[in-house]
Symmetry: C2
Subunit: 344 residues, 2 copies
């Protein structure tokens, strides 16, 4: 370690498990797809490069599958048995990313062209549909070892996910929503799937009755915290670490939580920010820096950071009464803390 | 009945059952969606008009749900018990229509603007995703009374559906495919879901072991026949009956089965058709009529009609050894015959 570089945080075991167990399991399923669909789906997940060549790894943080594996352990099960559930969650996540990138017109993700930018909108619609379907196929495979309920929980999650994305799209077009509506949108858009990821982990561990519901709520609150941190990084994140252009969310005039909180606040900074968002022309260069400063001055940054901490507390409250093995609990705490403090 | 008008064919009981049972069941599920998604999904299915007002009915032929209800009866069950399966099939069908219209750039369906033309591409992507998810939610509802296998069959069907649509998109862009590849594409694009519709009917009737597989194959072959008739109507159908512009498929230079068969045939007509398809500029007016005449002269029309009959024979072969109640068998025959001979 060179002097002046902060120590990299220890990688929690579940993240290591996910990085080791997921790529081959994901590839086994995508390899069975029609070749053109296989290449697109595998490209999205980093399982193949832009020329269809296998990479032997997977892109992304694999955060959701890591939570599935870890919650399986927390519920007394074996993480290896939770791999089908984790795969289904990761497919669902990537399906929604492919479609979100179409809806938002985003051309770049993880330093690479998005699926629609690389393969065109029609094929990208199809790739997303394929991954949504594949998630259910994984979950219902005879050897997945999951109760029939698992499929119903994933289906419900999709409904909440779509409702969240729908509100997100509408917020982008219309008046600034109240901050509560913004947080409710985040519960759908990000909370629902992380909640499902945690629940499916518990279900695959054959947890005691009622535990899966607790894990679901734990993950839902955590998902909102995760999205709040994401929103902060979308304004103040380092492009080298996030893989997104600097000030990406402001550039797109997104009404993310810090922006909505700032716009709802009293004071001059809020008014100046509103005029900047309403002005025509691109938001870049000095205007971008000014917008970020105004969000901060109006309290948007502090609100989002505090709300993230509050959601993490709410998440933990759901698990407090459960008899979770000490090592799994410690690791959940470690992962949660890293999530709240991450820079990517 | 006025003189000179041919008698309308008798409506098979299953179609009547579908028209009576499906609209309220579909609406019960869509009514639970986030309002903007509800309105779009209900608009697609004709459950609501373009202003979100309930219509009390549903658009479309409801052919797939009719087959689900009828196959339930044929397998010794009660059609009312097959309604959840029929609803799931109809949601899946409409989800794929919404996304297909985006991919194909089609602005009109059933005499109305398509969902993307009415609500924009981003919202239409979301509406399709919502209906795909809702199909699984219906299928796994506690009172649906279906075996867990049902969910796996629908998930597999999506994979085949997407593979078929993928080939269809590629055929539209590249060289003319061999006719076998074209028929394989149709098995995915139309056969898979009708096969699933029939299978889910049998599954909801708790049919003897192995029956659901037979019904699946029956429906798959029938689906290809159905698509072949659709392709014929896409060239020679009456716009007033089909709801599509005259010569719609030729206008879009689609490589539908009659066109592919014509292009693969030897002779002058085939070559002239190929040049017409390769020429720049819109295909309309006299060129449209000429193209239709050339497809016919090169044998494309006769091929598609013969292949449709052959597929229907193959479909019936799958059921021949099953002990199906006489009235249900007669009705399946009636519905199949009408399908082969339909003008809409």
């Amino acid at each position: 370690m060179s002097i002046g570089t902060p120590a990299a945080p220890a990688v929690p075991r579940a993240v290591g498990d996910a990085r080791r167990l997921l790529p081959p399991a994901l590839a086994r399923w995508t390899d069975g797809l029609e070749p053109a669909l296989r290449d697109m789906c595998a490209y999205q997940m980093g399982l193949r490069d832009a020329h269809g060549r296998p990479t032997g790894t997977a892109a992304g943080k694999l955060l959701r599958p890591a939570f599935t594996l870890l919650c399986a352990r927390a519920a007394g099960g074996d993480p290896a048995a939770a791999v089908p559930a984790a795969v289904a969650v990761e497919f669902t996540h990537n399906a929604s990313l492919i479609h979100d990138d179409i809806m938002d017109g985003d051309r770049e993700r993880r330093h690479r062209p998005t699926v629609w930018a690389r393969y065109g909108v029609p094929m990208a619609v199809l790739a997303g549909d394929t991954l949504f379907g594949l998630a259910f196929e994984v979950l219902t495979a005879p050897d997945a070892g999951l109760p029939p309920d698992a499929c119903r929980h994933l289906a419900r999650t999709l409904r909440h996910l779509m409702a969240g994305q729908c509100h997100d799209l509408r917020f982008a077009e219309t008046e600034t929503p109240p901050i509560d509506a913004c947080l409710a949108m985040m519960e759908g858009k990000t909370g629902a799937l992380l909640g499902c990821a945690c629940r499916l982990g518990a279900l695959s561990a054959d947890a005691p009755a009622g535990w899966d519901e607790r894990f679901h709520e734990f993950g839902t609150h955590l998902g909102v915290a995760f999205q709040l941190v994401d929103d902060l990084l979308g304004i103040w994140g380092d492009p080298l670490l996030t893989g997104k252009p600097v000030g990406a969310d402001l550039r797109a005039r997104k009404r993310s939580a810090p922006v909505v909180a700032a716009l709802s606040a009293p004071g001059a900074a809020s008014g100046r920010l509103a005029r900047l968002y309403a002005a025509p022309g691109p938001l870049d260069g000095g205007a971008l820096e000014l917008a970020a400063a105004l969000v901060e001055e109006a309290g948007g940054r502090a609100f989002a950071a505090a709300e993230a901490r509050r959601r993490i507390d709410m998440a933990w409250e759901r698990l407090v009464s459960l008899d979770i093995p000490a090592d799994a609990r410690a690791e959940l705490e470690q992962l949660t803390a890293q999530l709240a403090d991450r820079r990517w």
